[in-house]
């Protein structure tokens, strides 16, 4: 994605990683993928959350990721370095179902007004173009625990209704998530490179909560395919600090993920 369009001294991935890091409380158990969420989690461990525990769908509990050795899959042995425990994927995902995980992080190709995420099919599932890699653990995470979605803020990604629900947010809004059988979890926040959303308590539609530094509400809306809820009192995110950026760059010196 290259440098952030606001001409600031950090990239989109750096901004996302920092914002991601800040929502991770100390002592929490999080379930993450290997890109931005892992960078965010490792950053959080270095700064405000030394007791944060990371779980990966490969079956890994509490690894200790080494700078410069970022894994390229949640299922490879690098991800398992200095872990507290190695489990099989079925049982590590069952920890979500049992309720052991505080926050799950997912991404995807599209997100819609009810925070449903698509990582499977663009177009019809009968004749997609393209067919995407798919759910992995995404559906499990979003079905079972409170979830934060990390998403580049682009018009083609923020669509009123996703082509296909891979990872359910609030389904069709209101109580429809619970009615579908998903009696736990739900999307807590959607973090983009422009702003932070949560979901309205009643309608369950995306609601802008905070704008990132230098971002206007118009920039947010111009890059979306639908109009989210917009409350009167919008917060502004604190910009990434020098310390945060320094640690991130130490973790990913070859910029595998910090694009």
């Amino acid at each position: 994605m290259g440098k952030h369009q606001m001409n600031q001294t950090y990239t989109t991935s750096e901004l996302l990683s920092v914002m991601c890091s800040r929502v991770m409380p100390d002592g929490a158990i999080i379930f993450a993928g290997v890109g931005v969420p892992l960078l965010g989690a490792t950053l959080a461990q270095r700064l405000h959350a030394p007791k944060l525990t990371i779980l990966f769908e490969g079956g890994i509990i509490g690894p200790f990721i080494q700078p410069g050795r970022l894994p390229s899959s949640t299922n490879e042995m690098r991800t398992a370095e200095k872990a507290n425990m190695l489990l099989n994927p079925t049982d590590v995902l069952a920890l979500l179902q049992r309720g052991y995980v505080d926050i799950g992080f997912i991404g995807g190709a599209q997100i819609d007004q009810y925070a449903n995420v698509n990582s499977s099919y663009i177009g019809s599932y009968r004749q997609p173009a393209p067919r995407l890699p798919g759910s992995g653990g995404g559906n499990d995470i979003s079905s079972l625990v409170e979830t934060i979605v990390i998403m580049p803020h682009e018009k083609k990604r923020f669509v009123e209704n996703v082509d296909f629900i891979t990872s359910p947010g609030y389904v069709a809004g209101g109580n429809s998530r619970k009615d579908a059988g998903l009696i736990s979890g739900g999307v807590l926040k959607v973090i983009t490179n422009l702003c932070v959303f949560d979901c309205d308590a009643v309608t369950r539609r995306l609601c802008v909560r905070a704008l990132h530094p230098g971002v206007t509400i118009d920039a947010v809306l111009d890059n979306m395919g639908f109009r989210p809820e917009i409350p009167d009192d919008l917060e502004t995110s604190e910009p990434p600090t020098g310390e945060e950026l320094e640690i991130l760059r130490e973790l990913d010196p070859t910029r595998i993920y910090l694009k």
Binding site: G58, I60, L87, N88, Q97, G134, G137, I165
Partner: protein, 315 residues
């Protein structure tokens, strides 16, 4: 007894499943054979499940041989699929693919091969959640016809399957549950660090779904970095992850997961993975076929492929 109950096509009825198992010679017997002999036991149309995950402990040599033997009309299941999926599809081996994720790896982006096959309707493709596939193998391993779960509901996934999934209201809790049908593959291909000649298998590092898959399958073909003695197994029986009675073939294949990784033995061959990615990035399915010609069909044997990988076997 099964009349009217046909909605889970990959779940054979329990009575049939047990009849198949009863026919197997499950005694403590020498099962060591060659790779081609072991893979030769797979029939066209079989459901083949693949152990490991993404590019970890993939039974690569077994898949390599399976593609060489040009098996046809297979159902293939693997929770997370990497390059091996490309070869199985491009090799014309697969009628139905069951997975939760399919890409060489996030570093390399979408699979051009998978896209071609799915987008053009050349394969029946079922996407399951990752845990769901694990639970389906587990149901198969436990000898029960389904496991209830709290996932996949509210999503588009059930509708997009060939399998018609059932839900129920739990009589104890009132909760709505999705019933994941047991998955009982005909063959599980599994690569491990060590096993004895009877098939007692021990592996280190991430266990993945291999144990459930092995117990769910009709038969298991095991490739192993090293064959060790039964005494060594019996000296550490709490490290045995798959019991001999579930295994039908043991093949010693050093670097049997290459170019993927095998914990304690080798990391992924990233450079080779990049090279393969170049083939498909430039040229899609024909690119994959070019790679396969050179790396799968042309080498005289597995050692020949390893040589191309730059690996000299220890003596």
């Amino acid at each position: 007894m099964t009349t009217g109950f046909q909605s889970a096509p990959d779940t054979p009825h329990y009575v049939d499943l047990r009849a198949r198992l009863a026919k197997r010679d499950r005694g403590l017997r020498d099962k060591v054979m060659s790779l081609s002999e072991a893979i030769g036991t797979i029939a066209d149309g079989d459901h083949v499940a693949i152990g490991g995950n993404t590019f970890s402990r993939t039974p690569f040599a077994a898949i390599w041989e399976l593609v060489r033997q040009q098996k046809k009309r297979l159902t293939v299941s693997r929770s997370i699929t990497s390059t091996e999926g490309d070869f199985l599809l491009a090799g014309g081996c697969v009628d139905k693919y069951m997975t939760s994720w399919f890409s060489q790896g996030i570093l390399w982006g979408l699979s051009r091969v998978m896209r071609d096959f799915v987008e053009n309707g050349k394969v029946t493709y079922e996407e399951w959640s990752h845990m769901s596939l694990g639970m389906m193998y587990r149901a198969g391993a436990l000898g029960i016809p389904f496991l209830p779960t709290r996932v996949m509901m509210g999503s588009g996934m059930p509708e997009a399957l060939v399998t018609s999934l059932e839900t129920m209201t739990c009589p104890y809790s009132g909760d709505k549950l999705l019933l994941l049908p047991a998955l009982n593959p005909n063959v599980a291909l599994i690569h491990v660090q060590r096993a004895d000649k009877y098939g007692n298998a021990q592996y280190d590092g991430l266990p993945f779904m291999d144990a459930d898959m092995a117990m769910a399958a009709d038969r298991v073909i095991l490739t192993t970095e090293k064959i060790i003695s039964n005494d060594d197994i019996r000296n550490a029986p709490d490290h045995t992850k798959i019991p001999f009675m579930a295994v039908d073939a043991v093949v010693e294949v050093p670097y049997g997961a290459a170019p993927h990784e095998c914990a304690g033995f080798y990391e992924p061959f990233y450079k080779h993975m990049d090279e393969y990615a170049d083939f498909t990035r430039k040229n899609g399915v024909p690119g994959a076929l070019d790679y396969m010609q050179e790396h799968i069909f042309e080498p005289r044997d597995w050692t020949g492929f390893l040589k191309k990988l730059g690996v000299g076997l220890p003596n």
